[in-house]
Amino acid sequence: MIRSWLSSPHIPWYRSVLIFRSIGVILAAYLLNTMEPLGTSPFLISLGGIFGVVAASRIAQTRVTNLAFLLAFAAATTLVSLVFGIFNYTLSGITPDYFSISRLQLHAQLCLMAMFITAGATWLFWRARGAVTLEAIVLAAVAIMVFAGHRNYHFDRPKIVSSLAWRLGIPHLSMLIVVGSAVLGFMLCYLYFASQAVRPRAEGVNVQFSRSRRGLVFSALLLLTLGGVIYVVQAALYQHYNTAMLARVSNGVGMGENLGVSPLTFQSALGSTNQPAGLIRLEGDYSDNPFSPMLYLRESALSQFSGKEMVFAGRAFDTDLPVVSPQSTFTGKEDTELAPRTPLIQSIYTLADHDSAFAVDYPLSIVQLKNPNPTRFKSAYRAYSVAPAFPLSSLSNLEVGDPRWTEEVKSHYLQLHADKRYKELAEELTKGITNPVEKINALTSYLNRTSIYTLTPNHNVDPQSDPVVPFLFGDHRGYCVHFAHALVYMFRALGIPARIGTGYLTDLSQAKDGHILLRMSDRHAWAEAYIKGTGWVPFDVQPDQVESHADTQVDTKLLEELMGSLEPGEEILPSESTKNEPGMEDPEATWIPNKEIILWAALGCGVFLVLVKVTLRHGWRLAPTASGTARWGYISVASLLYDRGISRAFGETRHQFSLRSPDRVLLPITDLVNHSTYAAHPSLNKKEVAAAIHEAHKRLAGVPLWRRVVTALNPSSITNALGGGTW
């Protein structure tokens, strides 16, 4: 019964189409459940969907009309509702659980819905011309939608794939390519089988004889081309990825500390993503943080004015910067004359490539840590900082600049913008104010009030012109890069030494156990002024008006997962201690196979495939009867021919095929099979049958060695057998 439902004598590749559609249904059910909990087991939903595929495929081969099929749909729905209604009416309340039937109904509804959807789509597939094209478009659209979400080269979701990449130590881009290729391969195979299956309907049932060798050559070429395309695409992607990641611009703030170059961009702050950039672990409390709950982590500073923008000046001036890679060590010198500062130790585990180490200012020392998970963290270091511990209100009466500076340093930090308008505006806004810190506050407040935060200012600026002008003297739309430049220009115009700090700005209120997850969207640039006896202090613009922003919630699950990788190991907390404790397993944790399991699974699959091939070739030896030996012998020879590219064509009888086989090698064994099947009193001798099979094999063995090797390795006969093809 099941066998007859799963095969159709009229349709080539019928069973393959069913298998592919069923796999699609299973994948869709599990994927949907990952995206939003369905409330019903995806396994049950898949079963409903697969039943819809099989039933609709079978009924579509009969004379049932479209209208009758629709009516059957409606009748089934009504019937199910009616049955549940009756059960609800009669049974609810009898059991202590009032909604046991309703519960069942909700689960059944979803399974039925899956069945109806897949049955409808399958019905259309078999009955409507162009349905395959439509499906191809839908599949392509889904693939685009799924993969477009990963254009930042980072696998954010589904989480299981992302976790698998971490577990296996595969770069996310590679994982993306692997999954993309798998999906593409699946879709291509499906479309191939689907088009084969619907072709007879389109062309009318006609017999086509296979062109043996061309098929083999064509398949090989197709595989080679596909491999080549995947290789070229992944190579191009890697190249593009590397180019893009070299800049690693997010929020308009890039990386890199090249003399005379700015890592900041003015055109757009788009590209800021939720991609994890690093994990900070505070090794101590920081209750004196004057910027609480925000925390500034400085990576670089731009103090030289290039005539157009602020650029990196090098170690000659900004001596407080470590300017070392995250894989290096650094030892600075503490400036003991600076105002209240507190020691703050941070362990920093980077999750993305960084050119420079970053830390809370001032880092006095950076030492390397042993990377607890090299497949996950790019680098691990600990920064010893003396962090600000002064209340911001205490700055109000202080002077700016440092009397210990040489004239050269002083003039460096006071280098003015050639455009007089900055000075004019700064003076106008600070008219009547004498205290420099109050002046700073007045200018910052002005930008807070008037600026509009947007990720896309869309200013039309000549590459040689000052990109801040359209912001400050134009529409006031911009982002941190514009704000920081505008403030620094105006500070300097008023004689206040200033520079731009770049790095990360994060919210400590989102920390857990002192762990903070940095995202690329936390990249930031801010203005800094040098306050006498205090050092460089950030003065940041926080616009009242926000047109668009890139705020995203911290992925707490990821944060906890990363924190887990820093947890003490077996040496300190042996798992034996809690072996029998219930609740130790995270109920929401998804099982992710490790490398070993995957290798064993792959090995198992390989062994299974080899066994299939061995069974095809040598199964006849185990057949208990002569007729069985004949049938399996036929399969043995036919599968050998199949692997050489000679297969039975659609509509061709076995006898016709045997006549077409090379030297009619298949004819004797075919005659024996036909005899055992159709003769009223078959009289087969097992030895004779075996001799015929041996003879066929012997005749087929007379080919060059390379041909025999290729034949043995060719998996075509396996796929044909598993795909439900006939011999």
Binding site: S292, V367, K370, L508, E581
Partner: protein
């Protein structure tokens, strides 16, 4: 709750480690430049001494580090304490007290219960390794062993291993240990195991035997409330409140006050509930915890006092702003849920949707009494589904300016309908599956975060016979008369969805009449609007009900997709204002009665169109709207009439 009751144990730990000279760790940076391994590296603990940079801690013994950590924990410097404890473990991996304190740190400060359990089990092993198997003769060892068992029971409790937690407490009892916290902790676990009478007995005995009064009284009050003894519960809470106030600045009276408010709310004594919650939120320990504010907000929403609800949430967020390091995760979902409901009832539906989405995405920390993620999930899911349906109604009344906007509108309506259907279905499934046959059907169940007046919308899709039997069973055990109105409303809504209009109309009329004036405003408004759906829009009854809603909760009229009957006088109407108005949330009505009217007005800007809305005797409802096109002016008039402008603050 956990934090409150475990904090004293930190102090106890401190007492166990006599404080010696304490010098704050200067945490000087290393002087050498060579690369060193992680001194905190759990995989290389034995190389610590050789590899660690020179620090003051390096010269301290594990015991000294533990003492300092104890003090740091008691002085709210948990990260410093954690670091010192880790260093102590690296110096002496056999020192159980470091593990014990780290377990407390993860249990109290972080809420990482699995790690806390790992530490406490390790601490137990090391303790027994050092001191042998219990029982112990030394009083100090007994005290330490008792504390280890207590942490173990708390870790298990937080991991929902209630039997394991009880086993630990049994072990504590078996060794003859005694502590003030024991009766409260034991009754709590028994409550979680559903052994309510036993839990009450333990709490009562504990009080008689001199157990920690504040905690035990509070626990007993909760237990009595759960055991349907509200008056006894209130009496116990009164004692708990008095006790906490008697503790001066160390007392935490907001907790029993909030619990008492919940009991008042449950017995529908809204006035006392409001005053109790207000008192709780005005106290230092009450303003920073979300529950009293949330309870008060929900009470106000049921009374449709949206401004008061808004002020309550504002006050809470102002208070919490004093604690910038408090994790947003702690309350963000609940705040978004409450604010979203306020937005929904004031016609700010788009913002409500955003807030509900955020509430659904965010996880929420809960105490271990009863409320859990499923309660939040179901409340946010139903709220979001309602908001999507309301948005559809708003869009149907909205005049699109361009064909793109029109197409977008249609697409949004279609997707909203599908999503709302799915969310309601999902909510029903959670109510039945995860919340045990809709346990939240008990109106104003303190465990729940549901909006009871409109819960019927979710229940409407359930089987009529099953729901009616479930409600009958609920009625049989619920003596509260006022709750009957809610049950009627649910049944009516369900009957309406199964096309039994006459039965449902009768029930809705009854709810409209029986609902308490000034308290059940949202329930009455909801019933009125549902009743209106079966009335002819030109009937006198429809007009009467529409104006009743318009004067009490104008945004709800448009939210539910009803048109307000008005007199329209737009003169010769060269711009087809009349048809634009009738395509919006208005319907032209004639005849007698005190109808509001819409008339064409002189625009302030030449070339624009203006409409004036006025109501006889209701000057506060008078509005003027201007626009360039008939559609725009009607949209604006609709917005000024059916949307209350409220500030957009807080997390979103």
């Amino acid at each position: 709750m956990v934090t409150k009751y475990l904090s004293p144990l930190c102090c106890l730990a401190l007492l166990l480690s006599p404080v010696q000279t304490f010098a704050q760790d200067a945490q000087q940076p290393p002087s050498q430049e060579k690369s060193v391994d992680d001194p905190f590296d759990p995989f290389d603990i034995f190389g610590f001494d050789e590899l660690t940079p020179s620090t003051d801690d390096k010269n301290k013994t594990a015991e000294e580090l533990i003492r300092e950590a104890s003090l740091l924990l008691a002085t709210a410097r948990p990260l410093d304490a954690r670091t010192k404890l880790l260093k102590a473990i690296q110096k002496d991996p056999e020192e159980y007290r470091a593990y014990y304190l780290l377990s407390g740190y993860y249990l109290i400060h972080v809420g990482h219960y699995r790690l806390a359990l790992k530490y406490i089990r390790r601490a137990q092993e090391l303790f027994e390794k050092k001191n042998g198997k219990p029982p112990y003769k030394s009083h100090l060892l007994q005290l330490e062993h008792g504390n280890l068992i207590y942490y173990l029971s708390q870790c298990r409790l937080n991991l929902d291993n209630y039997q394991g937690s009880l086993d630990a407490l049994d072990e504590y009892h078996r060794f003859g240990y005694h502590a003030e916290w024991y009766p409260g902790a034991r009754s709590w676990v028994l409550m979680k195991l559903g052994r309510l009478p036993e839990a009450i007995k333990v709490a009562r005995e504990g009080l008689l035997s001199g157990a920690e009064s504040g905690r035990t009284l509070n626990m007993l009050g909760i237990l009595l409330s759960m055991n349907d003894q509200p008056q006894e519960s209130l009496e116990v809470f009164r004692q708990a409140i008095a006790y906490e106030f008697s503790q001066g600045s160390d007392g935490q009276p907001a907790t029993p006050l909030n619990n008492a408010g919940e009991v008042y709310k449950e017995i529908f004594d809204d006035v006392k509930a409001e005053s109790t919650f207000l008192r709780a939120t005005s106290l230092p320990d009450g303003c920073e915890h979300v529950l009293p504010s949330l309870n008060l907000t929900l009470l106000y929403i049921e009374q449709l006092k949206t401004n008061a609800a808004l002020s309550t949430m504002d006050a809470f967020q102002r208070c919490i702003a004093q604690f910038p390091l408090r994790n947003n995760e702690e309350h963000a979902a609940l705040v978004n849920l409450a604010r979203g409901r306020i937005d929904l009832h004031t016609g700010n539906v788009d913002r409500a949707i955003t807030r509900f989405e955020t509430a659904l995405q965010g996880t929420q920390w809960f105490g271990k009494i009863g409320t859990n993620q499923d309660d939040l999930l179901v409340a946010a899911t139903i709220s979001l589904a309602q908001a999507l349906l309301r948005q559809n109604n708003l869009l149907r009344f909205h005049h699109p300016e361009t064909w793109r906007e029109w197409a977008k509108q249609k697409e949004t309506i279609a997707s909203n309908s599908i999503r709302a259907w799915w969310l309601m279905r999902r909510a029903r499934q959670i109510l039945i599956d995860d919340l045990h046959d809709i346990e939240d059907l008990t109106i104003r169940n303190t465990d729940s975060l549901l909006e009871y007046p409109t819960l019927g919308e979710a229940l409407a899709g359930l089987s009529s016979s099953a729901l009616s039997r479930r409600i009958e069973a609920q009625r049989a055990k619920d003596p509260r008369v006022i709750a009957g109105g809610f049950y009627d409303a649910y049944l009516a809504e369900n009957e309406m969805s199964w096309l039994f209009p006459s039965a449902s109309n009768e029930k809705f009329e009854s709810v409209m009449q029986r609902g308490r004036e000034g308290f059940d405003t949202l329930l009455k408004t909801h019933a009125t609007l549902r009743r209106m759906s079966t009335l002819a829009t030109d009937s006198e009854r429809y007009r009467e009900l529409a104006y009743r809603v318009f004067y009490t909760a104008a945004p709800e009229l448009r939210n539910y997709g009803f048109r307000l009957p008005v007199r329209i006088d737009v003169g010769s109407d060269p711009y087809s204002l009349r048809s634009a108005l009738e395509a919006g949330p208005f319907r032209e009505a004639t005849g007698e009665g005190s109808l509001c009217s819409i008339t064409a007005a002189d625009p302030s800007t030449p070339g624009k169109l203006a409409l004036r809305f006025s109501c006889p005797g209701q000057s506060s409802k008078n509005r003027l709207a201007e626009g360039s096109t008939p559609g725009e002016v009607v949209n604006k008039l609709s917005d000024v009439l059916f949307r209350e402008e409220i500030r957009n603050v807080g997390p979103n």
